[in-house]
Symmetry: C2
DNA sequence: ACGAATAGTACGAATTACGTAATATCTTGC
DNA sequence: GCAAGATATTACGTAATTCGTACTATTCGT
């Protein structure tokens, strides 16, 4: 498949690929950004504002707004760091943990749908492919600052 | 790789995966929605409002706004259909065609970065995988109306 | 201890999206 | 061949989201 076909395939199926939440329907009054933010925070256990802004690719002031809303909805709590009182630690509340679990269940259902359709060879190769893709994108000279790669589950993944 | 790891991988690398436009930097004053809209229209040669709204997954009134902006920017033209005067045909202008070419060049550069990192077996399997994934998502009972699949490059792709 | 750097928030403007109502044009049944 | 309903789209006001800039608080470096 040449790249052109691939692009057309993506364009024709954009809805299914990029808007699974239509049928994932996590009942929710959560925007896509808010959803990703919750997942990111759960991933880190606890996060600081600048990490969050960086990960979801928005300005600090935008991040403040997003966190404001999620705190208002009782999914998150803010707390000042003791060691550095400029820093604000963002954590999931019980309610937040619960909705993250619901979200992850939905995502897993979505991923299951995909994995079920693949045979063993494909699953095996897919793992390598995904890692390689991310590594390839990481190598792009234009990819920003070093901190991006900090703490990541991936700096440079070794394929077993 | 289990699904959990996959999800973490995606979360950790969200920026690279979902915001390539940071370094694709098609100079542009185009939002992501506008960019996709232009690609969709080029894909169809000419498109009507309801098709566009459906493809990019927004309401008709939102689509009107998006097209308004792109017409104002001279990338698109509006014309009433002769056969059915309710219908508005959206077409790319010369300027529009040009920017779409620029965008596609950028996307191809991005895709090249990915493909270059894969060996032959991986490329071969990847094609099948992508098709299977899309088919799997298409089969989901919850996926909306039949028209979605009309005119698609994919109803159900046969793997050669 | 003072100026520069860092972390975050406040605030107002701009952009984008959405819901509802309105307009214009077909289509269908009688 | 015309009224009633269906379809395609736009208008308009509102809500949600994002952004840039200025401001506050705290820490770091020398």
């Amino acid at each position: 498949m040449e790249q052109n076909k691939l692009l057309n395939l993506i364009l024709d199926n954009m809805k299914k690929i990029f808007f699974p939440e239509d049928w994932l329907e996590i009942d929710m009054k959560l925007s896509k950004t808010e959803l990703f933010t919750l997942l990111i925070i759960e991933r880190h256990g606890e996060a600081i504002m600048s990490q969050i802004a960086n990960k979801i690719n928005v300005s600090m002031s935008t991040a403040t707004g997003i966190i404001d809303r999620l705190v208002k909805k009782k999914y998150l709590s803010r707390a000042r760091s003791e060691s550095d009182r400029r820093i604000v630690l963002i954590r999931l509340t019980k309610k937040g943990k619960q909705i993250v679990n619901d979200i992850k269940d939905s995502i897993n259902y979505y991923l299951n749908t995909i994995f079920k359709s693949l045979n063993e060879e494909e699953v095996r190769v897919l793992s390598n492919i995904i890692v390689k893709i991310i590594n390839a994108l990481s190598e792009e000279k234009l990819v920003e600052n070093k901190e991006t790669r900090e703490k990541s589950s991936l700096k440079k993944i070794e394929i077993e």
